[in-house]
């Protein structure tokens, strides 16, 4: 027997000017999800069940970039992806290109538990979701006004924005510096944006 342990994250790279109340909202959600995991562990839930439970909660709250509140594609739609892995026998499941699945992590879990595969994507993943009867929503359920605003800014700046919030007053530090573009695959990030 060992003592249990748990960690959660909501994305790396944060705008140093993120307003205090946004910081507090984020910390409260992290604390709530941690406590959800802790009470499951205290009731002897297994590690694989707890990581799914906690990530479902994070996907459902629009604060972070997953599920509801996901970043938007260049077309203003949502394409979500998730994966899950169970250490003891290295069983795993992953999904990509989801547009209607309310909790992508649970579909990833079903790929692991109910299919002979490890990874299903786009129309194949969506038809697996239908077959499994998971909870589904219209794509606009996942879209928040905040993100519509951020997509507009990203397009105006002609850039792709990484996995963190960009400040409303333009791109500083963690956002993509148009003046000094971040490299991706060895190329200036601006190379990708026009595509």
């Amino acid at each position: 027997m060992v003592g249990w342990a748990i960690a959660v994250h909501g994305g790396a790279g944060v705008d140093p000017n993120l307003p205090t109340e946004r910081q507090e909202q984020a910390k409260q959600l992290l604390a709530r999800c941690l406590n959800l995991g802790i009470s499951a562990l205290r009731s002897s839930a297994s590690a694989i069940d707890v990581v799914e439970l906690v990530v479902r909660e994070l996907e459902t709250d629009p604060i972070f970039n997953s599920g509801r509140g996901s970043a938007l594609t260049e077309k203003g739609t949502v394409e979500m992806e998730a994966s899950i892995m169970d250490g003891p026998r290295r069983r795993c499941g992953a999904v990509s290109g989801l547009t209607t699945v309310k909790n992508p992590v649970s579909l990833a879990r079903l790929v692991m538990d109910k299919s002979p595969h490890s990874y299903l994507a786009f129309s194949g993943a969506e038809s697996f979701a239908k077959q499994m009867g998971v909870e589904r929503e219209e794509n606009d359920y996942f879209i928040t006004q905040d993100n519509v605003g951020m997509l507009k800014q990203a397009k105006e700046a002609n850039s792709i924005v990484f996995d963190y919030r960009i400040p409303t007053n333009g791109f500083e530090s963690c956002g993509v510096e148009v003046e000094s573009p971040i490299q991706m695959n060895g190329l200036p990030i601006s190379v990708y944006a026009p595509e």
Partner: protein, 131 residues
């Protein structure tokens, strides 16, 4: 991106990651989150979930790399996390959270902050954003 890693009281590790990807991304672009071994990995030694610049995490096979340096170099969990963040990301910006089968928890990042929280059975609990 969001993620969770857990080691339970029987020492079993698990990891999960979920994301909407990049704002203004090209449709069809796949990041690290669904790629086992890159954004997510778990084995008998540890569980890892990553977030950040997907392309750099994929190049580094970052999550699996934490388990590999624990297994092959005999590093402890926090040492392994610090090593891969420092040595494997090249210029990429990313962060990760990890647990080990010994009941340890660790995190690391090389950019400005990471939304994270961790707790252990002996009562330790922390929620933070900055360094």
């Amino acid at each position: 991106t969001v993620g969770c890693v857990v080691v339970d009281s029987q020492g079993r590790c698990a990891a999960a990651t979920s994301t909407g990807g990049l704002m203004n991304k090209r449709t069809g672009r796949i990041g690290d989150s669904p790629l086992i071994g890159a954004g997510t990995y778990a084995c008998d030694l540890c569980g890892v979930s990553c977030t950040g610049e997907g392309e750099a995490i994929i190049r580094a096979t970052l999550a699996r790399e934490v388990a590999a340096v624990m297994e092959y170099k005999g590093l402890g969990l926090q040492e392994a996390v610090d090593f891969v963040i420092k040595e494997r990301l090249d210029e990429g910006k990313a962060g990760l959270i990890a647990v080990s089968n010994k009941g340890e928890v660790a995190y690391g990042f090389n950019c400005v902050g990471m939304f994270r929280g961790c707790a252990t059975q002996d009562g330790f609990m922390e929620v933070g954003i900055w360094e």
